[in-house]
Symmetry: C2
Subunit: 272 residues, 2 copies
């Protein structure tokens, strides 16, 4: 089918590279050098957002803050095209869909994939391989548009999970936003504590635990702010567990400390 992609960064670029073997893919990015890089990588690039239509599907893969404005620009003339978006927080898209022009179809298609790099230079088809793609209906989804989203997810190498916007945002809060928040708090605490001349001592454990602190502050702040109620509930829960741990340490309660650690190990084994 004809698949258009708006935004050719890490996710949009990876989708373009993964889908172009099976579909006619056109892409647009507001950044001219990104367009040049995509063109050099064999992607058909157009010179304006408008030129992405007509299509069978348009995937909006801009930074979070631009997703709803881009959907709003495309929706009035989307015609038969299904509008998909990779927003990692569904609340704002849900709200937009509720007031979107009659007849347009909107489905969330969120690949749970990432790496520390960003932009088209970091994009690759492999990034998406076997990754979970969350397919999230809006009030503007129908059976055909949901099926199309699932097919594109599979064609991009992903594994499809359908969930509601509410489930999606609760999951992403604990799987993406909270890890970012904790990695950041840990990195700041460590830098405040460790003398400069001893900075080279961190090992793989600390490195892994703080890697997400390298998330761009644009993406990071969107993950935290656009999903505020779920993120705040998670932060409250984390702080309560850390307080419980602190109490057990203060009282030298080995049994309580070990019980918490055993519960955590079991949770980790279940989730990863």
């Amino acid at each position: 089918m004809n698949v258009s992609i708006a935004g050719l960064g890490l996710i949009g670029g990876s989708l373009a590279l993964a889908l172009k073997t099976r579909h006619r893919v056109s892409g647009f990015d507001i950044d001219a050098s990104t367009r040049d890089a995509a063109l050099a990588a064999g992607i058909d690039v157009v010179g304006a957002l408008d030129a992405l239509l007509p299509a069978d599907a348009v995937i909006v893969a801009t930074p979070m803050a631009a997703i709803v404005p881009t959907l709003a620009a495309l929706a009035p003339r989307s015609g038969a095209a299904v509008l998909l978006d990779v927003a990692s927080v569904r609340g704002p898209v849900e709200a937009f869909a509720a007031s979107a022009p009659a007849g347009c179809r909107i489905v969330g298609l969120h690949p749970m994939a990432g790496r520390s790099g960003s932009g088209f230079a970091a994009a690759s088809a492999e990034l998406l391989e076997l990754r979970p793609f969350l397919v999230v209906p809006t009030v503007r989804s129908d059976t055909a548009s949901m099926a199309l989203a699932g097919a594109l997810a599979r064609d991009a190498g992903g594994e499809v999970t359908v969930c509601s916007a509410v489930q999606h945002d609760r999951i992403v809060a604990v799987l993406s936003a909270l890890p970012l928040a904790l990695a950041s708090a840990l990195a700041i605490t460590a830098a405040d504590t460790v003398d400069g001349n001893l900075a080279a001592l961190s090992g793989p454990g600390f490195g892994d635990s703080t890697r997400l602190a390298l998330t761009s502050s644009d993406l990071g702040s969107a993950l935290l702010l656009a999903n505020a109620p779920n993120v705040r509930a998670g932060l409250e829960r984390v702080r309560a567990i850390l307080y419980e741990m602190d109490r057990a340490i203060e009282t030298g309660d080995v049994t309580a400390v070990k019980a918490l650690l055993a519960r955590a190990a079991e949770a980790r084994r279940r989730l990863v």
Copy 2:
């Protein structure tokens, strides 16, 4: 030289494997199957702790709780041997050294290395390669014993950093204990939040962030409890930063959220 190792688990076993190419290494473990596995891997194994002496150096690499008792058993008859120990919290060894028999020499030799496996089966010389070895003097260290510790660290493939017990414990609290505490709190929160049927969605970010939750509860509780003052100070700092983040999210303060994330990214780049 003649190097004896008490405790042939992940760290002791790795030290034995790394040092045996340059030194005559003898090892002892209270577990018979561990002794058999070490013997099969070409390490000279003795049948009792006492048989580790005489030697030029004895490295005590038992689990944390057994380190001071093992040092206490060896000290009275250590003779010319330098006693080294890999304790990842220095406070208890410091206290022991202050009342140790006259003439015995004790130096901390803590390789900052680990992996999720444990026991001799997970041991390998590569585990220690290029890892920081913290060489920590006690009141029972002298120039010769410090030099010997440094030489063994380098012979094991490590890179030597000398620091005081106070520095050591402050560093380990933020680089090892806090990451464990946060990984645990995150794993528990996620498991409490994510429906069972959506458990397969976690990606590499969440996986890396929670890997340390798989630390054995013996090692984990020792890291948290034996270093209580530093760990509690770190937990308080982390909770304060998370509170600050929560306030910024609550008030929708994009600038404050981005500033925190930028500070964290800079801290991460400096420390790793």
